[in-house]
């Protein structure tokens, strides 16, 4: 990778981790979830709770980016924000809820600055960040058909602040700081996304790792060419929902996997995936 070469002579002072990232990282190699364990990952260790399904989902998302060297992740406050600054990829931390507004400006600026390269912008935030405080910027980015991907890490509550209800908490559930129980149903944001203008919408789980990877990849490729994409990933939180961490994946299966594409998106994805090297999608615009 041209952009990931060390200036000659400085190799001898670079820490081992960077030498490995240059020699064996995922940049420009078209790797995916199936290759995990065979390359130097963008994140290796993280400070999230043991068994955190959100941490696992982020690992899978990072492994699924079509062109990590040309991707910027835009995040916001929440458990993911503790992990993200340590990832070996450009990422921006925004004011809580502001992520889709920042991503809008960023995507437009990158398109002007790099007209010949696809720079993928991916919003990745918790359910509180997307469906509650960030709902207006999220929805408006879809209404405006902004071409970036929004990924919601849905742990059905505000975990980072000790367990408050979010719009995604299921009806009747009692979380730590909401003793009366949720009074209304989980917001069907994936349904809202379809009518709000998303060209690709999926609901995924880290319990089906390859399928999750395929969905993230498809979402990003659709966002490049067709229109906004939304992926909602169910990430059960053992700390706030008080179940043993070893049960996370079993719980993560308790959700529906769905996928929706507008006809142009379907056509585009079929064209790419039928190509000789479906994994190696060029990022030339």
């Amino acid at each position: 990778m041209e952009a990931l070469k060390i200036s000659p002579g400085f190799e001898k002072v670079m820490p081992q981790e960077y030498l490995e990232l240059v020699e064996d990282g995922p940049y420009g190699r078209g790797l995916g979830v199936k290759d995990l364990g065979t390359f130097k990952e963008l994140i290796e260790v993280h400070p999230l709770c043991a068994g955190c399904a959100l941490g696992l989902s982020i690992r899978l998302i990072l492994a699924s980016l079509p062109n990590p060297e040309n991707t910027v992740i835009v995040g916001t406050t929440g458990c993911n924000a503790i992990l993200m600054p340590q990832v070996a990829i450009h990422n921006i931390h925004c004011l809580f809820g502001n992520q889709s507004a920042v991503a809008t400006g960023l995507k437009r600026a990158l398109r002007l600055r790099y007209p010949n390269t696809h720079k993928d912008v991916v919003v990745m935030a918790g359910d509180g960040g997307v469906v509650d405080i960030g709902l207006a910027p999220t929805m408006h980015s879809w209404f405006r058909r902004e071409q970036f991907t929004t990924i919601m890490l849905d742990n059905e509550g505000y975990s980072n602040t000790g367990g408050q209800e979010s719009g995604m908490t299921r009806q009747g559930v009692v979380v730590n700081m909401a003793p009366l129980g949720k009074k209304f149903p989980k917001v069907p944001l994936h349904e809202v996304a379809k009518v709000a203008g998303c060209a690709y919408v999926a609901t995924a789980t880290p319990a089906r790792a390859r399928r999750l990877g395929q969905m993230v990849r498809r979402a990003i490729l659709v966002a490049r060419e067709i229109g906004p994409a939304y992926v909602q990933i169910f990430c059960p939180c053992s700390t706030n929902y008080k179940f043993p961490p070893a049960e996370s994946l079993k719980r993560a299966k308790e959700t529906e996997i769905t996928e929706y594409m507008v006809p142009e998106a379907k056509e585009w994805i079929e064209r790419i995936e039928k190509g000789p090297k479906a994994e190696e999608v060029s990022n030339e615009a």
């Binding site: 000659p8 400085f10 670079m14 820490p15 260790v45 340590q86 070996a88």
Partner: protein, 206 residues
């Protein structure tokens, strides 16, 4: 163009710390950035050549001089970056005992970085302390991270800081030069060689 030469009116000098847990930014204390052809020594605006001479003196007098190259020169992202990286390595070779500790990016590392082998803007003081560095030179570090690191170093250590900047300079360093590219680095190297020769001939006379 400003012809301002001198210290801020309040006499504030950007000198080695430890200054305070939260040292004030030099800009707040009235230090202004140099104009073209100028540099700063401890907050005072001086001609560029004077600052280069002082850089040479400081590096050559140091017990443990260290170069902290940042991402803008560590990574070969342009021909200019590669040329500047080469010029910097040639400069280091001219300073007896000078070593290099990189700042490859600005990530806070979990569980902790090894401050002996890399420097990070979030805790540059650890690198200075553990390696016992008395004079350091920052180069190729993006502005806001350089300002942050320089302030933390001044706040908690007695290290003398030098910042070579490709843009307008860093008022939070004890010495700074602006518009530094490969050619200017080579000029500093020439100054170092000249000062070294001067020291050798002085010793001979003694």
């Amino acid at each position: 163009m400003s012809t301002l030469i001198g210290l801020p009116k309040n006499g504030y000098r950007v000198v080695p710390g430890p200054e305070a847990y939260l040292s004030p930014s030099a800009a707040i204390m009235g230090v202004v950035l140099p104009e073209e052809g100028q540099g700063l020594i401890e907050g005072e605006i001086v001609p560029q050549e004077v600052a280069m001479e002082e850089i040479a003196n400081r590096l050559l007098s140091a017990r443990n001089p260290m170069l902290f190259p940042g991402p803008l020169v560590l990574w070969a992202w342009s021909d200019k970056a590669v040329a500047k990286a080469k010029a910097l390595q040639d400069m280091v070779a001219e300073v007896p005992g000078m070593r290099i500790i990189p700042m490859p990016d600005y990530r806070p590392k979990y569980p902790m970085i090894n401050p002996e082998v890399e420097i990070n803007p979030n805790h540059p003081n650890l690198t200075i302390w553990h390696n016992n560095i008395d004079v350091c030179m920052f180069v190729g570090v993006h502005c806001h991270f350089a300002n942050l690191a320089l302030k933390i170093v001044r706040a908690g250590t007695d290290c003398y800081t030098i910042a070579l900047c490709g843009e307008r300079g860093h008022e939070d360093a004890m010495i700074t030069l602006r518009d530094v590219h490969a050619e200017e680095v080579r000029k500093i190297t020439e100054t170092i060689k000249r000062v070294k020769m001067g020291r050798v001939s002085c010793q001979k006379e003694e």
